[in-house]
Symmetry: C2
Subunit: 382 residues, 2 copies
């Protein structure tokens, strides 16, 4: 284990009906007015919105609505939220939705207590020093945002999908009720599975030093995601599988899987962010395309870990057999593995390379991920 | 996953030299005077005490010493600490030592802000509503006390080894420096391994519902403990193995391995506490004796999980083969597996049964662990 500091202050409220007490948690924090963020109006049809509002009202908490947050959430919406939060003087952000809503809410929380442009935080021009408290009800298990410091937002003007990381945006309380997650489409379920697997493998394969115990936790998360995805495709109402899938999602990116790990990076995310930014590809779908291609390009740099992956996840012997088994599993459950499935052609690669090369600078990976390397990887994904 | 709330506010400072900043953490919490608790004078000889005091002085933090805390820590010492903390008006407890020192410190922290007898908390006569903040430098990896709500103390007058559990005694900051743990004897290393394995298997085997993902984490912890124990017996200076052993210890009892688990209990700990209370047996050594015996008595009640254990940890097929493999491993590394190794004889069993039956009431397990059952298990351990 290399040196680390770990302090994850998020309280997780996991289980059925936990959303009914969300107002109690907010009131306990001394907050009397929230910005209530969400995506589509679906939560108004399925009753979740009413449940949340009832809990707020029971605790005399006022709310201001900010709906319409989309997947690959947009900076313009974050600006709108920051403006509303400042104008209304809210004391917290309450996010009801998936990772996109929560990531936007984190950005709003930080932007609301900042005099400059919230995008400054994403481009490293400024560091987050404070943020409004964030509470959330997470309705899609994938990003792990409910228990981490990250938020990813797309600047639609510059076509940059960038991220922030700050301990100030750890959610105070996150409600994870697997029942609220069962309405997700099969498509988004498998995209989410790919996202969780991507969170798991980035450090696992790229680290210059990786403790065995952390690798074991990661393998536990990946194998849980794979088995529960198959269960849920067959029976979306399987509560136990839904719960384990949700917890694997949280664990895969709440910081526990990089403790004591040295010298790791997120190249798959880096490249995928360009697909999302340029083609509005669903993040998880983009990842299931990039991962096998990246692995084929990269595996010789860490052959032993790839052999371990092949053996422990798929019962295979060689690195390449493991990569192929993962790709076949993606195909089997129905998440894309080729750029052509997004109608992205070889002639589009230059634009992706250009965008990803800019990301590489932000990720501090420009030396490794040159335009030539990016092109090689993307061609493997055609 | 069954419903749960998880909120672990402890900050872990893991790695080399982390103890040098302990005063900074305490000062950051606004504390200017601590009760500095420790065990033997060894820390004064090896330099750790001086390091800690230097960090306190650099932060203008006064300290009052309370040394002499022993393994299976005693209530009389806790009383002494409570009295000193109250008389000196300290703002926090700083524990420098292993689980016994930290458990005593937690009890002192709670007792210092309570008007009654601190033992009230252990016998369920009163509930902990507040406690002084606890900081610690953990010099022996075993109990997981550095990141949990538990403390175990022995009342030497009543021969009761009882525990408390309260969110108010989560340490604020725990320093885990594997280098500070390498001076532990081989004897205590293997006892600690047995303790961590015991923490791991109690819920794993006794739960009425056990999520697969949590079982995988537990298996990761157990296999890490086993492999790193063997590495450390061969080379006590292996820093990486020491680090993974330490982290497995923390993870095995920081609450993460019982999340979503339903209907579990701690029968091995319950019985072992009687060995410690009556014969002052080292806790881990007592556990490695009790576990195989308890498993032989219990396994038919959860045969599938025992078969899983046998397969995933030892590559065996049957429950009994797994139990025997664990027992053989204990023998191999040199932690006791028979009561006779403590010179405890069949004629002593009645006294242990009587003590354990009283524990069973405290653990809420009196219906299952009748005197007959306890006698049966203890006879299997002869």
């Amino acid at each position: 284990m290399r040196d680390f500091t770990y302090h994850n202050p998020t309280k997780i409220e996991f289980g059925r009906d936990k959303e009914k007490a969300i107002g109690d948690h907010i009131a306990a924090a001394g907050v009397s007015k929230v910005l209530l963020t969400f995506g589509s109006d679906r939560i108004k049809k399925d009753g979740l919105f009413d449940t949340v509002v009832a809990s707020l009202k029971a605790n005399n908490i006022e709310y201001v609505e900010l709906g319409g947050i989309v997947s690959n959430p947009l900076l313009s919406k974050v600006y709108e939220g920051v403006e509303a939060a400042k104008a209304e003087g809210v004391g917290a952000i309450l996010s009801v939705g998936g990772g996109s809503v929560l990531d936007s809410s984190k950005a709003i929380a930080a932007g609301s207590l900042y005099d400059g442009d919230v995008w400054d935080f994403f481009i490293g021009k400024s560091v987050i020093e404070k943020a409004l408290p964030v509470f959330d009800i997470i309705t899609l298990a994938a990003t792990g945002s409910e228990m981490n410091t990250y938020a990813v937002v797309t600047n639609e003007k510059t076509q940059q999908k960038f991220s922030i990381a700050s301990p100030h945006v750890y959610p105070k309380v996150s409600v994870v009720n697997p029942e609220l997650q069962k309405s997700v489409s099969k498509e988004y379920l498998v995209y989410s599975a790919a996202d969780i697997i991507a969170h798991s493998i980035e450090g696992y394969f790229t680290a210059s030093y990786h403790p065995d115990i952390i690798a074991k936790y990661i393998e536990a998360n990946i194998s849980t995601v794979m088995s529960t995805t198959e269960t849920l495709l067959a029976d979306p109402d399987d509560y136990d599988a839904r719960g384990e899938f949700a917890w694997a999602a949280t664990q895969a990116l709440n910081g526990t899987t990089t403790l004591g790990v040295a010298g790791y990076s997120f190249p798959n995310h880096m490249i995928e962010h360009s697909l999302s930014a340029l083609f509005n590809v669903a993040h998880g779908a983009g990842l299931s395309v990039i991962m096998p291609a990246w692995m084929k390009w990269y595996h010789k740099q860490n052959e032993a870990q790839f052999e371990r992956f092949a053996k422990n996840l798929f019962g295979k012997s060689t690195a390449m057999e493991g990569i192929e088994a993962l790709e076949q599993w993606f195909d089997k459950v129905g998440t894309p593995t080729k750029l052509s499935q997004f109608s992205i052609k070889e002639s589009d690669i230059d634009a992706i390379v250009e965008n990803a090369a800019a990301n590489a600078k932000m990720f501090g990976l420009a030396d490794t991920y040159t335009e030539d390397v990016l092109r090689t990887i993307l061609k493997l994904a055609l």
